[in-house]
């Protein structure tokens, strides 16, 4: 065992901001911005799982896509660390010299396996593509063996290599997507709602595979989901995002034992009970919906829906403070 590998960083992000311009009119002038992310800090170390939870439109997917460099951040700094601990600034367009190593280290599994696999490639071609781009194997036999081994690792038969994605069910397709993400032995995989498009009875199978390969290959995960139960199960640390702002961050158990932010509490109480003798939705008190990120409210983003709103809340935005359990709320200042 190489002990020094354990505490290496993979990604460090400071004050990440992402605004998407809205264009309108004949000359497509910028008329406003969708403020998807505001000042997010995140740090991902080797072999840890971070959960990002929030409602639709809160920016959690944008965060995942910034870390994989699908998007560049509007502001803020983003650093990537290779296996030896060398730091690379990747806040701007990915430089050619590190593109190879970066892509090898960081992979992604998307939400909808019906859209994320090329319908015109066979399963074998899909999984081989990264191997060929990175020129991993010199001879074809080795490459084929490796692909077969991967497929069997995710619970599929090696004979599937010649089939096309449409021949598979959702769960099987997500397994193919996992195999593809695994090919280059990444250190970090971003999982963006990996089970939400799947049947209920299949979801847990996929989570189990993700957990197994994590332990086997010592991978880190950034798990993005709206499902609190799932996030609790797979994460070491959880970040709760509301309207582009991290409002609470804590170790998984701590967050569930002791949720502090009013929004986190609302989110937890909105989860259905699974117990018809003790229904709980009737007790949920929150009203309204998340406001639009085009015109976010001043001050704390949650104040228009917050049951504990104070005078200061619509004037000053609270900062994320604390050590282990961080929280951005004026109630705790």
């Amino acid at each position: 065992m190489e002990m020094e590998v354990i505490n290496l960083k993979i990604i460090k992000a400071n004050n990440i901001k992402k605004y998407f311009p809205i264009r309108g009119g004949v000359f497509l002038k910028v008329t406003g911005y969708v403020k998807a992310l505001e000042n997010i800090d995140i740090e991902i170390n080797d072999f840890e799982s971070i959960g990002v939870v929030g409602e639709s439109g809160c920016g959690k997917t944008t965060l995942g896509r910034i870390i994989t460099k699908i998007y560049d951040p509007t502001e803020g700094s983003l650093y990537f660390y290779d296996e030896k601990g060398n730091e690379f600034d990747i806040s701007h367009k990915l430089d050619k010299s590190i593109r190879g190593i970066f892509r090898k280290n960081i992979q992604m599994i998307f939400q909808n396996p019906y859209d994320s696999l090329d319908p015109r490639l066979t399963v074998g071609e899909i999984i081989k593509e990264p191997l060929q781009i990175h020129r991993v194997f010199k001879n074809k036999k080795e490459e084929d063996d490796y692909v077969n081994e991967l497929l069997e690792r995710v619970g599929l038969s090696a004979t599937y290599t010649t089939r096309y994605p449409h021949e598979f069910s959702g769960g099987q397709r997500q397994r193919i997507a996992i195999a593809r993400a695994l090919t280059l032995r990444p250190r970090l995989i971003i999982c963006d709602e990996p089970t939400s498009a799947l049947d209920v009875s299949v979801q847990n199978q996929i989570i189990e595979i993700l957990k197994e390969i994590q332990n086997e290959f010592k991978i880190s995960y950034l798990f993005i989901s709206h499902n609190l139960d799932l996030i609790h199960h797979v994460s070491d640390r959880i970040v709760v995002i509301y309207l582009g702002n991290a409002i609470e961050e804590a170790p998984a158990e701590e967050l569930f034992e002791n949720p502090m932010h009013p929004y986190t509490k609302v989110l937890m109480s909105s989860m259905p009970s699974w117990d018809p003798t003790n229904r709980k939705l009737g007790k949920v008190s929150v009203t309204g919906e998340p406001p639009s990120p085009i015109n976010p409210p001043l001050g704390c983003p949650f104040h228009p829906r917050c049951p504990y709103k104070m005078d200061v809340c619509d004037k000053i935005k609270p900062k994320l403070i604390g050590k282990e359990h961080k929280i951005a709320c004026h109630l705790y200042e």
Binding site: V200, E208, H232, H233, V266, P272, P276, R279, G282
Partner: protein, 332 residues
């Protein structure tokens, strides 16, 4: 006081589709009743036939490609045999439907008001100003802020939760006896889902409609349904009160679904799951359709379809483990 009546009866309903690969038995011989003022939950995974069943009740299936048999009795008439012209007076008036995706079930080219007026004009013969008054009142009752402004807006100007409320308001205009809600909260956020579920409960108390609530989410069902029917591969495998189904699930599939909830105690343990995948309708297995995924499978399960056994108070299960077919195995 008279007894609680059955407002809708479905008897031996079969819905087969003609496809290139042959006949697809999407729904195969199901029977159930909907009682007055109750919420009946239909639970099942994609392709189990829950949506198709309700499209049949709404008479919205294409007769050219569908083979229907059995009976759907509403108001002493078989819906499957009523003429389309006659059924137009029922659909949308006495039986309403709330669809899964509020964003795609409104016409983007017309304002909310125009679409609500269409309902009022067709079924209630109201004038424009009358339907405006009635619609705005209804929108207010379902908790839409500033309904006067919303009435003249287009669907894209509203959020998902607001549109789903509008859809509910639109259905309530005619005060239908039956409201079919097909995954009404699946596309919504959890905090908004909680609000919409609470709203549906309170309108039921106020208007006294019967609701058929379709979903794949057992958590949602636990919050809203009085009785639950579990569907798998075109069959109803278990029927019971919500409490019975959640506290004493009998069918191995229902048990599997119940266990698949990620509970907090499972952290750092292996999650339980049902092996295998949902079969496709062209290829349902012989015998009990759950047999390839079932942990308690016996020889007879692969050969013959199980019959429905009644075990206790309105709790019915179609499984060879129970009744005459089974010798009450170890799981009891």
């Amino acid at each position: 006081m008279k007894n609680i009546e059955n407002i809708l009866e479905v008897n031996n309903l079969k819905i087969y589709f003609k496809t290139f690969e042959g006949i697809s038995k999407a729904v195969d011989n199901i029977s159930f009743v909907l009682k007055e003022k109750e919420t009946l939950g239909l639970v099942g995974e994609s392709g189990c036939g829950k949506t198709v069943t309700n499209l049949a009740i709404m008479k919205l299936l294409n007769p050219k490609s569908t083979i229907l048999s059995g009976k759907i009795l509403y108001d002493k008439k078989n819906i499957l045999e009523i003429e389309e012209e006659e059924f137009k007076k029922v659909r949308g008036k006495e039986i309403g439907m709330i669809f899964q995706e509020p964003m795609s079930s409104f016409d983007p080219l017309y304002t909310i008001g125009e679409q609500m007026h269409e309902v009022c004009k067709t079924h209630l013969k109201l004038t424009k100003s009358e339907s405006r008054y009635k619609s705005i009142d209804m929108m207010r009752r379902v908790g839409i802020p500033e309904p006067e402004k919303r009435y003249d807006q287009y669907p894209h100007e509203m959020s998902g939760g607001m549109l789903q409320r509008t859809m509910i308001a639109l259905n309530l205009l005619t005060n239908p006896k039956i409201l079919i809600a097909d995954e009404p909260t699946t596309a919504l956020d959890v905090t908004v889902q909680a609000q919409v579920l609470n709203l549906m409960k309170s309108i039921q108390d106020e208007f006294g409609n019967s609701i058929i609530f379709i979903t794949h989410d057992l958590g949602v069902i636990s919050e809203i349904a009085d009785r639950v029917h579990v569907m798998y591969a075109g069959k109803i495998v278990e029927k019971g009160t919500t409490e019975e189904i959640f506290n004493k699930p009998l069918h191995p599939y229902t048990q599997g679904l119940m266990e698949s909830k990620i509970r907090r105690e499972y952290k750092s343990k292996t999650l339980p799951f049902i092996p295998g995948t949902v079969p496709s309708p062209q290829n349902f297995p012989k015998g009990c359709r759950f047999n390839p995924r079932c942990n308690f499978v016996k020889d007879i399960c692969k050969e013959e379809e199980p019959k429905e056994n009644e075990l206790g108070n309105e709790h019915l299960v179609s499984c060879w483990l129970y009744g005459n077919g089974g010798n009450q195995l170890e799981n009891n």
